[in-house]
């Protein structure tokens, strides 16, 4: 590979890693919910895109950053609704039911989006789209950098929330020992709802970022985002937020790498194979949650 190709390759990688923060956020959302409810919320990515769609209402009214904020807030709202509908009233010991419920939710959201928009992709505002930072031979796309920074900000915010606030402490306590937490006076339902809202907040941000980076929103984005998000969660290690962060960047970078090497239609095959490799060699993920005694 000559120098030009190498530069292009690295460029791809960088772009991918920058976009990877989107995957990181989705992965964190999955992990958060899994960590607390020990159940999978398959509708998470769909709700995130849905939140971004809803924030479109604001587009002509407010500047772009507020639109993103709107997406985040709406994501939180959607998260709360998903909790109420799919998790709150379902028996705890029947994870299959919750899983199916979220599948139903996923279908419903996706169809709703398709119907509302007649299946046409919608333009989504991007910031700094025309700005490019040059570092030597590399172009760093402004909009991707913004996405990256926003993602990092969200992750920092989340970490602070979890480690420094009472809500965060409650979330972690309930995740580890729901019964004991209740006995200590923490409302399990309220805490779970809060977790979903926080995850929804992250998801809405991720949806907005995905839209900003790609420039359009389309219902076709939900399934790939779901799958990639799940891949990130598993590679990073179930229940591990730092794992999801790192894994998101890895998946983002790998995706672009494979695309550069083998083209768009084959790229996901290799991403999936990479996942399999992780499952075989490191099933606990990058930062496996410490194994307990039975």
């Amino acid at each position: 590979m000559d120098l030009m190709d190498f530069i292009d390759l690295t460029q791809s990688l960088i772009d991918g890693v920058l976009f990877g923060t989107t995957y990181s956020l989705i992965g964190i959302g999955f992990t958060l919910i899994f960590g607390v409810m020990h159940k999978i919320n398959l509708s998470y990515a769909a709700a995130s895109i849905g939140a971004a769609y809803l924030s479109l209402i604001l587009v002509s009214l407010v500047p772009a950053p507020i639109v993103y904020l709107g997406a985040a807030l709406l994501g939180g709202l959607l998260g709360w609704m998903v909790y109420l509908i799919c998790f709150r009233y379902l028996p705890l010991n029947n994870p299959l039911a919750a899983l199916m419920s979220t599948v139903g939710m996923l279908l419903a959201i996706e169809e709703l989006i398709s119907h509302m928009t007649m299946g046409m992709p919608q333009n989504y505002p991007a910031l700094f789209a025309s700005t490019n930072i040059e570092i030597g031979q590399f172009f760093l796309r402004g909009d991707l950098i913004f996405v990256f920074v926003l993602g990092c900000a969200a992750m920092v915010g989340l970490t602070l929330l979890l480690k420094r606030t009472r809500l965060g402490l409650a979330t972690r306590a309930v995740a580890q020992q729901p019964v004991a937490a209740q006995l200590c006076g923490m409302g399990v339902n309220a805490t779970n709802a809060n977790t979903f809202i926080i995850a929804g907040f992250l998801g809405g941000t991720a949806g907005a970022m995905a839209g900003a980076a790609i420039g359009v929103l389309s219902p076709l984005m939900t399934l790939p985002l779901t799958v990639k998000g799940l891949v990130v969660t598993v590679i990073g290690g179930l229940g591990s937020i730092p794992g999801a962060i790192v894994a998101g960047l890895i998946v983002g970078g790998a995706e672009n790498l494979f695309q550069f090497l083998r083209g768009v239609s084959e790229r996901d095959i290799y991403v999936m194979l990479m996942l399999f490799a992780f499952l075989v060699f490191r099933p606990g993920g990058l930062f496996a949650a410490p194994g307990g005694r039975d």
Partner: protein, 311 residues
């Protein structure tokens, strides 16, 4: 009349999918891989009959063998993980299969022109049925003959020691292991049998539809596949079939007047059903059972809920 026959065919194919998922769910594994096997079946059977001129029965049998091989190859590494990781692993498997076929081009010349999978354009011209003079009724009967055969086999398996082993594994893996049950063998066998059934479904589907493409095999199909047994009630085989009939027949076709909103209704329906009867409709507690199972109701607990990092 043709309309109802067509409907019956679709219900039949989806029944096979549902039964395939039933097998795997019984050992406590949530697998979204049925779509992958479905695709393998479709493409294999299609290639064998339209490009190599094999008779249908042989093509289906070949597909089933292939499924077993793939299931074992994929199953041994993949089935060591549980819960969410398994969901993701099986999803990844199905996606890999779908994408491989999306990129797969192999055409041969036949007297009727080039035939074969053509990458993203899909695989058309699987004209075994029309070329051999099958009527819609005959195809329908074939499909339901397969469904009946599979039902019989599964019913027998369930009553036999295999069924007890599968359910023991589904109940509590640690206890099963400590009682001498080989977990991996049990899981892989369920995965393999489920895969073979899905392959049959795919093979028949390819001929019924005469044109297949990667969009037919998305994750959504796999979620339908597991929806049938879960909503129908894992404890009874009949529940799965009835559920397929209900969903495909009543909801998706009967509510045609709602037009494009059918999928949305399906989604909403799933959510509602899970709220009202989380264990599924024909669970034992409802007393219907239809005698197809003696014994346990089936809230699958425990092993599915846990993530993959426990000792």
């Amino acid at each position: 009349m043709d309309f109802y026959l067509g409907l019956a065919q679709v219900i039949g194919i989806h029944s096979l999918l549902g039964l395939s998922a039933w097998c795997v769910l019984h050992t406590g594994q949530v697998s979204l891989a049925q779509g992958g096997f479905f695709a393998i079946g479709a493409y294999t059977a299609g290639v064998l009959t339209s490009m190599w001129g094999w008779p249908l029965a042989l093509a289906l049998a070949m597909g089933a063998l292939l499924a077993a091989a793939v299931a074992v190859a994929v199953g041994f590494p993949a089935l060591r993980v549980k819960g969410l990781m398994l969901v993701v692993a099986t999803t990844a498997f199905a996606e890999i299969v779908r994408l491989v076929f999306f990129n797969f081009t192999w055409r041969v010349q036949t007297p009727a022109g080039p035939v074969g999978p053509d990458g993203s354009l899909g695989f058309g011209g699987i004209r075994y049925f029309p070329a051999n003079g099958w009527t819609t009724l005959e195809v329908c009967l074939l499909i339901w003959a397969l469904v009946s055969a599979v039902l019989l086999v599964l019913w027998w398996l369930d009553r036999s020691r295999v069924g007890t082993l599968w359910r023991a594994v589904g109940e509590d893996e640690l206890a099963a292991q400590s009682a001498g049950i080989n977990l991996t063998a049990a899981k892989v066998s369920a995965f393999g049998i489920g895969g073979a059934i899905a392959v049959l479904a795919g093979g028949v589907f390819a001929h019924y539809a005469t044109h297949i493409e990667h969009n037919n095999f998305s994750i959504l199909l796999a979620t339908f596949a597991i929806a049938y047994p879960i909503i129908g009630g894992l404890s009874s085989l009949a529940g799965t079939i009835l559920e397929v009939i209900f969903i495909q027949g009543f909801l998706l076709e009967g509510l045609r007047f709602i037009g494009d909103w059918r999928s949305l209704m399906f989604g909403v329906l799933i959510v509602v059903v899970m709220l009202v009867r989380p264990a599924g409709f024909l669970n034992r507690s409802l007393g219907l059972g239809l005698g197809l199972r003696r014994g346990a109701s089936a809230d699958k607990t425990g092993s599915i809920a846990k993530g993959g990092t426990h000792a």
